[in-house]
Symmetry: C2
Subunit: 325 residues, 2 copies
């Protein structure tokens, strides 16, 4: 009998649940209308209902290995509790895993959402042919996940992979984390929007100004559209995104010498606009990158994620498969 697992993506605004075979085939995906903002108990109820629906549908035809859940927060892996999550008010210090196990009577694994996205890309996406990789997720913020020898690297307290808070500009823009000049302040959707507003305010970006007055607010997509149409101020913003990514990725290339670094998240849709500056910066700033380039066959690869918004769902479903094997 084939085996399958259920993956849950609790990130962003919606709750998504998928049944995935161990072969990687997605059997079915449910996107509930449940907004995470509606609170912990509502989310837990709807999640458990959807998991039950999927598992009973495939039970008999395939055997359920367990449930993996990607959560936007820091997880205590031992207790299965959410330690910190600004995006999930009320979930902190609540026995999330225990509660779900009690309702479902299945093995449940909780994992940080950026880690499961990396794990998804490692399994079925850009990094399926390497053992070790690191993924940067460029969204509202910048998250990260590191997979070493096929396993998610958690670090001492489950906080490893906080790649968005590397200092790229020592006296740069103040970050919510308390630092100045974090990568997140130059390579997130929020940062692109801020840089666009700054450019408009300076009076030197008329096209960006028009884009903003034509819609309720300016987004990173607006800036990207203008950049690929050749608008200089928009191109400058994406050049800055690429340079900041280049500085950060250089540090990780030099430190870890991994075979692959994957750039994902919504902002990675603007790859064409920021990748040239990122690659140029890497070549200039990382001698490990340029040396392994010279080595020919064993070249460091920096590439775009392949699974889009499904990376987390797929990576979450993978968790109980690896645990079980």
């Amino acid at each position: 009998m084939p085996e399958f697992a259920i993956g849950v993506d609790l990130g962003g605004t919606n709750l998504r649940i998928a049944a995935v075979e161990t072969t990687g085939r997605i059997m079915e995906t449910i996107t509930t209308g449940t907004e995470v903002a509606r609170g912990r108990d509502m989310v837990l109820n709807d999640m458990c209902d959807a998991i039950r629906e999927l598992s009973s549908k495939f039970q008999g035809k395939a055997s359920l290995l367990g449930v993996g859940i990607g959560v936007p927060g820091i997880i205590d892996m031992d207790s299965g509790m959410v330690r910190e999550s600004p995006n999930l008010p009320g979930w902190q210090d609540y026995p999330v895993r225990e509660e779900i196990v009690r309702r479902l009577q299945s093995p449940v694994i909780l994992e940080n959402d950026a880690n499961v996205a990396a794990f998804g890309e490692k399994w079925l996406g850009a990094a399926q042919n390497v053992d070790s990789m690191c993924m940067l997720t460029l969204g509202t913020g910048v998250g990260g996940g590191i997979v070493l020898n096929g396993k998610i690297w958690h670090g001492m307290t489950g906080m490893a992979g906080e790649l968005g808070h590397n200092t790229v500009e020592p006296n740069g823009v103040k970050c919510g984390c308390g630092n100045l000049g974090c990568l997140e302040q130059y390579a997130s959707a929020t940062a692109i929007k801020r840089m666009a507003l700054d450019a408009i305010a300076s009076g030197g970006a008329p096209e960006l100004g028009k884009a903003m007055s034509g819609s309720s607010e300016i987004t990173s997509q607006h800036v990207y559209q203008l950049a690929i149409q050749g608008d200089k101020p928009a191109q400058d913003i994406f050049r800055r995104v690429g340079e900041a990514l280049g500085i950060s990725v250089s540090a990780f290339v030099n430190a870890l010498n991994l075979p692959m670094y994957v750039i994902g998240g919504g902002v990675s849709a603007g790859w064409d606009a920021f990748a040239p500056a990122m690659m140029e910066t890497l070549q200039k700033r990382s001698f490990v990158y340029s040396t392994t380039n010279r080595a020919g066959k064993r070249k460091t690869i920096v590439t775009r994620a392949l699974l889009g918004g499904d990376a987390g769902l797929i990576g979450a479903a993978r968790l109980p498969m690896v645990k079980a094997s």
Copy 2:
């Protein structure tokens, strides 16, 4: 019968060889007069003679597990060849390991010198109670080694641990690696000397100027002496060392969340002068550091190396022990 291994430190100017028991007891150390500058064949001959001398002395009383050699260069772990080493002209692409094995008929492991120093501190030094750690060696340059779950992390091409080339100042001082503003340009002995000369040239550092005119050249030790005596320009230099280290270590704390980061090498003798600025920077720039601090028991530790110049020798001797177990 007790077991022992032989460690070789090929770094710096001299060739040192030690016989070390698996208990960690150093049985005997030989410091040969052989300068590495005298060339490959001379070094290999003297090295093999000294290894033979030590092994025959203890053979019968203890059983030899093998030989570990710390080399200042990038090692191809598969072939045992030195891939790049500016400090060992003539060693590149020569079958070093094979040649030593042929002469000694013992298992031989070659390893990068910064990696063996980390491995030494992990075994018998500052990091003996943690499984994973990272060490920065502040010497003429800045080297690094990473140990994860008790094993040296080599990365894809053996180049992992190049922690001295993290960008800490995007438009900073040009580095030999091609980058601008590498950690090495702010936290090595060479950098301290350069900053002292700059301060003297600016006319604002009379005490540093006196120190230089009193000796043939100014060293990081001179600067340290003045700093602890309260000389402001010398203190400013060490403050800059600490800030640069703080930026770099923050990035690794956020990315890897290791339990311990060890600062070693000659410049670490100036710990009192740079550690306060380093710790302050870490607290300010790494929320992973400050969060795990709050967590109380599982605090990130950033500390000084304990084994001094013996770290590499001890780590090299450890290599065949771990391989054998």
